[in-house]
């Protein structure tokens, strides 16, 4: 894939549910381009369609209209098997509900994407161990999800999302089910990933997560209503915010 090509893009994307009077535009004519290494946060009130948009971007849902590309390939026309294969190496997904497999240990959970992609058990295990170390959970590798806290589970899920070195990591309300302390852990992790050059698209209603992004997009009723760039600025502003001045 060309270096200058955006990691993913959406053009004229629509998603409608229902019909007639009950027609709902979950996503309404969205245009988006995410460059490699960029971190984009999408915020908005509940039901504004941001999660739907994320699933569309990841090929987990089909658009009603418009084009979607991931890693330079058109998603909207691809058959299900092609999408699955594309997801293997181009996409890592982090869910609000974690969706870890209950009867597998943390390590086995992180191994799963590699195994599904056809890697040997040994390679998958090695990669899983590396990733668990990266997220700081090496000592919990043998624990079942039920023995982990919410924050730890989400970190395992993030490790899993990174298993196949994806081009993009999509996160749907990653801290939605977490308390403040766990949110900080996950926040730190996303910050690190961003610094390492991982392309991120995060849907959230938590402004703390949103503040880690390069770009913040606000959605309402299925459409983008605002876009802010968060690069630049200085801590002088911070001091002013806290009322410490002199």
């Amino acid at each position: 894939m060309d270096r200058d090509q955006p990691a993913l893009s959406a053009s004229g994307v629509d998603k409608v549910y229902g019909k007639g009077d009950a027609l709902v535009h979950a996503v309404d004519q969205v245009e988006l381009e995410v460059a490699r290494g960029e971190a984009v946060a999408i915020v908005g009130p509940s039901g504004c369609g941001k999660s739907t948009l994320l699933y569309l971007l990841g090929g987990l849902e089909r658009p009603s209209a418009g084009t979607l590309t991931l890693a330079g390939q058109r998603l909207d026309r691809m058959p299900e098997s092609g999408l699955a294969r594309l997801r293997r190496h181009s996409l890592g997904f982090v869910f609000q509900a974690f969706h870890l497999v209950d009867e597998l240990t943390a390590q086995e959970n992180v191994e799963l994407p590699a195994l599904l992609a056809g890697a040997s058990p040994r390679r998958a295990r090695k990669r899983a161990q590396e990733l668990l170390e990266q997220v700081g959970l090496s000592d919990r590798a043998g624990h079942l999800p039920s023995a982990l806290s919410g924050g730890q589970r989400q970190r395992v899920a993030i490790a899993r999302a990174l298993a196949n070195e994806p081009l993009v990591v999509l996160a749907d309300e990653p801290t939605g089910n977490l308390d403040s302390a766990a949110t900080t852990d996950v926040l730190r992790l996303f910050d690190q990933l961003h610094e390492n050059g991982q392309t991120l698209v995060i849907v959230t209603h938590d402004t703390r997560i949103a503040a880690t992004a390069d770009r913040l997009i606000t959605m309402r009723d299925g459409a983008f209503v605002d876009e802010t760039s968060l690069t630049g600025g200085s801590s002088r502003t911070l001091a002013a915010m806290t009322g410490l001045q002199g």
Partner: protein, 600 residues
């Protein structure tokens, strides 16, 4: 009143929301109730028809017959004369002439028959009872009931005997010989003149004599008397026969009992399938229902209200299924009855009696209650929070299987892990499939038994052996129908089981898809998860089927199908299971991943 309305709304709402699951549940229960209905209905077939017919037709105690002897010096009729005044004889009728001819029916079917010449006036011994039409007239034939049913002949049809046209004037029953196709050739009555006209120099007339004894019980000894045997031994070229009425009854009952055996075995198996399906049903719904109980508790419903809601929903579905099952059984049963049995009272198809209906409805209600009890009790015992969060048995962890599966290709990995995670469901699937395999194997065995027996039947008249028309043919037909029905029911049960398993694995497969598994891999994984129980089912079902046949009264040494056939059941089962799982798997794969994962 308000409570009833609330219950009604809750029940209807839930059914509407889970349309597919409700339909599956109804399907499974319908399978159960249909099989049960059939089993009960078939059980009623077989009153003592022979005795009734014997009484009504003034049946003979002994029948003596001398076959045609071309070029014989002694006229056949004379040979029978010595029996007219033998000791123990109370009355006789005949000797009546018999012509051996081919009967050709309108649709070009041609079978050998013996055409008996009879008086128009009734005789004291063996007066066939006309069940439709009238007795012999010139130019008209009366057909034996079994023969008429087999050929589909009715009063008014035209038949040809040795090329001569006759109108079918009537249909009658007799016990002079066993009914067709239990005994061949079939029997047809004509006037004396007409019968005489059918003889040729090559095949002259034979003669038959009906004898009534003073002591009917002595018929067997009578038939063994040396003097009579002399009838046949003197000239080997003159075929002859002396048949006591018990022998004729045996002939008739061989056919009836064969049919009955088939039906009995069938009804046993059907009932077993019913029970197995119930177990699968109740077991499969547990998790979901426990969660509902938790939910209702959490919103403040009293235990009695919860029980009422669950019971109402289960009852509603079960009763709907019961009615469908009764209708289905009623529609299918005639296919399994035995029309064409040439005895009184046998032309009637099995009836759907009130008691059958009551039993079926009761069973359906029992299933509903059982299915309600278990989760209600469980929900009452567990705390609400646990019931909500942990509705199913938490999936078991089997480190060995997990490690092993990691090294396998993706479909096997998925399949093995799916089975490992819900072993109980796998066991239930295996049980339900095992019943199906058992049925197929038993059906195969009965079929094989018939084929073997059919071939050993001794032909009556050397000149007219026809293997195309054997006594086994009808039972065979019966068996084929039964097998088809069993297979259809087994298939529907297998489909419901597979579908339920696919739904159960929804989240797992959606996650796998999100992580990069293709629909084909998912489909193969789901199939694999069903194949393992299928394999177990096949291995256990084969001996079980043979055992069941034995238990139902068959003779295994003669009847056992060739080993190769039996072994072929294994791959056959696997292919069937794979096919049946592929459909819901494919449909499940179309659902968008997002939809499944978001609803969790």
């Amino acid at each position: 009143m308000g409570r009833l309305l609330l219950i009604y709304r809750l029940v209807l709402g839930d059914i509407k929301r889970r349309r597919v699951q409700s339909a599956l549940l109804v399907l499974m229960i319908v399978t159960t109730t249909t099989t049960l209905t059939l089993g009960l209905m078939l059980h009623h077939v077989s009153p003592d028809q022979f005795a009734r017919t014997r009484l009504a037709t003034r049946g003979p105690d002994v029948v003596a017959e001398v076959g045609p002897a071309p070029g014989s010096s002694r006229p056949a009729a004379k040979q029978l004369a010595s029996l007219l005044h033998a000791p123990g004889v109370a009355a006789t009728a005949g000797p009546f002439p018999i012509a051996f001819v081919q009967l050709t029916a309108a649709h070009r079917i041609s079978v050998p028959v013996q055409a008996e010449g009879r008086d128009v006036a009734p005789t004291a011994v063996d007066q066939p009872l006309v069940t439709s039409g009238h007795w012999v007239r010139t130019g008209q034939a009366v057909i034996e009931q079994g023969l008429a049913d087999s050929l589909g002949l009715r009063v008014g049809d035209t038949i040809r005997l040795r090329g001569r046209a006759f109108k079918v004037g009537g249909i009658a029953v007799t016990i002079e010989q066993g009914f067709y196709p239990g005994t061949i050739p079939g029997l047809v009555w004509l006037t004396h003149t007409n019968a005489g006209q059918l003889a040729t120099p090559a095949v002259p007339l034979g003669y038959i004599l009906d004898i009534k004894l003073t002591n009917p019980g002595a018929a067997l000894t009578f038939a063994d008397m040396p003097a009579l045997n002399a009838l046949g031994s003197a000239t080997p070229n003159e075929p002859s026969m002396i048949e006591p009425w018990q022998g004729i009854r045996t002939d008739d009952y061989k056919l009836i009992s064969l049919n009955q055996k088939v039906l009995l075995v069938g009804s046993l198996l059907l009932s077993l399938l019913a029970i197995a399906s119930i177990a699968v049903l109740v077991g499969g719904r547990m998790a979901e229902q426990t969660r509902r109980v938790g939910l209702l508790k959490a919103v403040g419903a009293t235990p009695s209200l919860i029980a009422a809601v669950l019971l109402a929903e289960n009852l509603l579905l079960a009763l709907a299924a019961a009615i469908l099952g009764l209708i289905g059984g009623d529609l299918l049963a005639p296919l399994l009855s035995s029309p064409g049995q040439g005895l009184l009272g046998s032309a009637v198809a099995p009836q759907l009696t009130g008691s059958t209906a009551v039993i079926v409805v009761a069973v359906a209600a029992a299933v509903a209650t059982l299915a309600t009890l278990a989760p209600t009790i469980r929900g009452a015992r567990t705390s609400t929070v646990r019931a909500l969060n942990n509705p199913a048995q938490a999936p078991r962890r089997r480190p060995g299987l997990i490690a092993v599966s990691a090294a396998l290709p993706v479909p096997l990995l998925l399949g093995l892990r799916l089975v490992a995670r819900r072993p109980r469901r796998a066991v239930l699937s295996a049980a339900s499939l095992m019943i199906a395999v058992t049925m197929v194997v038993t059906a195969m065995t009965v079929q094989h038994d018939l084929a073997a027996t059919g071939q050993r039947r001794v032909p009556y008249v050397g000149l007219f052996i026809s293997t195309a028309v054997s006594s086994a043919a009808h039972a065979n037909h019966l068996l084929i129908m039964l097998s088809v029905i069993l297979v259809v029911l087994a298939a529907s049960s297998a489909i419901s089981t597979a579908w339920a398993a696919v739904i159960d694995a929804q989240t797992s497969t959606a996650l796998a898809r999100a992580l990069g598994a293709t629909p084909r891999q998912i489909s193969a994984g789901l199939t694999t998860a069903q194949l393992l129980p299928g394999l177990a089912a096949a291995c256990v079902g084969i001996p079980a089927g043979l055992l069941l046949y034995q238990l139902a009264g068959g003779h295994l040494n003669e009847a056992s199908p060739p080993l190769l056939w039996l072994l072929a059941v294994i791959p056959g089962t696997l292919i069937a299971v794979a096919a049946v799982t592929a459909i819901p798997a494919r449909i499940g794969a179309r659902r968008s991943v997002a939809e499944v994962l978001r609803s969790e």
